[in-house]
């Protein structure tokens, strides 16, 4: 009877040691690494913007789309160009925008619309957009104005005269 208790004691000791080892192992488990820190999102690059650098008026443009000779006085039968130079804040970016030109005639102090034209443009780096108006029977003499808008906001105004 006494002999039969030995295996029981050994078995108990074995179970106890396994339990201890098991517990110890658990303690040794390295702490779970802090939740993988999600890489901080790179600061969003400032959205590239387009802007109008200048507006030149003339009666002819060259191959580079720029007016050949800037002018503010025209003859009635001249074609009149407004060459709008644009640039983007990021030369590599393509910036969509709406460029428009509104031409008005000063009729006894009241502006009369001569023409309005607007285009959706993909601006890239630097560029030139030409708005041209002409009138087969000649523009009335007097004072005129062209307002250039970018995305609905007037950004440049130029006055000129037809003599």
């Amino acid at each position: 009877m006494k002999q039969n208790r030995l295996p029981l004691i050994l078995t108990s000791a074995l179970i106890a040691s396994v339990a201890i080892v098991g517990c110890k192992k658990k303690e040794e488990t390295p702490p779970a690494p802090a939740a993988t820190s999600t890489p901080a999102p790179a600061p969003a690059p400032a959205a590239a913007t387009a802007s109008v650098a200048s507006v030149d008026l003339g009666s002819a443009v060259g191959a580079d789309f720029k007016v050949s000779a800037p002018a503010t006085t025209f003859k009635p039968k001249d074609s009149i160009y407004a060459a709008v130079s644009t640039t983007t804040s990021d030369p590599a970016a393509t910036v969509p925008g709406k460029l428009s030109a509104k031409w008005t005639y000063d009729h006894n102090g009241t502006p009369m619309t001569v023409n309005e034209e607007a285009k959706e443009v993909s601006f890239t780096s630097t560029g030139v957009t030409d708005f041209k108006i002409s009138k087969p029977d000649g523009f009335p003499t007097g004072k005129y104005k062209v307002e250039v808008s970018l995305d609905g906001a007037v950004v440049q105004t130029k006055e000129f005269e037809v003599k």
């Binding site: 789309f65 309005e116 607007a118 285009k119 959706e120 601006f123 560029g127 108006i133 009138k135 009335p140």
Partner: protein, 83 residues
């Protein structure tokens, strides 16, 4: 008789070194669908207050109109902005 200058035959164009992706649709331009019994004069009077400005509408729609006296119900006309 009005002494008002007539700019209805002003021609315009836009060219660019940039890619033009669409027609911005001239600021203030509206559209109008012709109804039975309409005339360009009546439409001009409605939009501009003067029937004799029908030519402004006619010139703006030369791509679909050949004769200012012949407009058809359902046609969608461009109505240039009034001054």
């Amino acid at each position: 008789m009005s002494n008002e200058p007539d700019f209805s035959n002003v021609q315009s164009s836009v060219t660019s070194t940039e890619q033009i992706t669409g027609d911005g649709g001239g600021t203030g331009e509206q559209s109008y669908t012709v109804k039975s019994g309409d005339t360009l004069s009546a439409i001009a009077k409605q939009f501009y207050g003067h029937a004799n400005k029908y030519n402004v509408i006619f010139e703006a729609n030369r791509d679909i109109l050949d004769d200012p006296d012949k407009i058809k119900p359902g046609q969608v006309l461009k109505i240039p902005a009034a001054e």
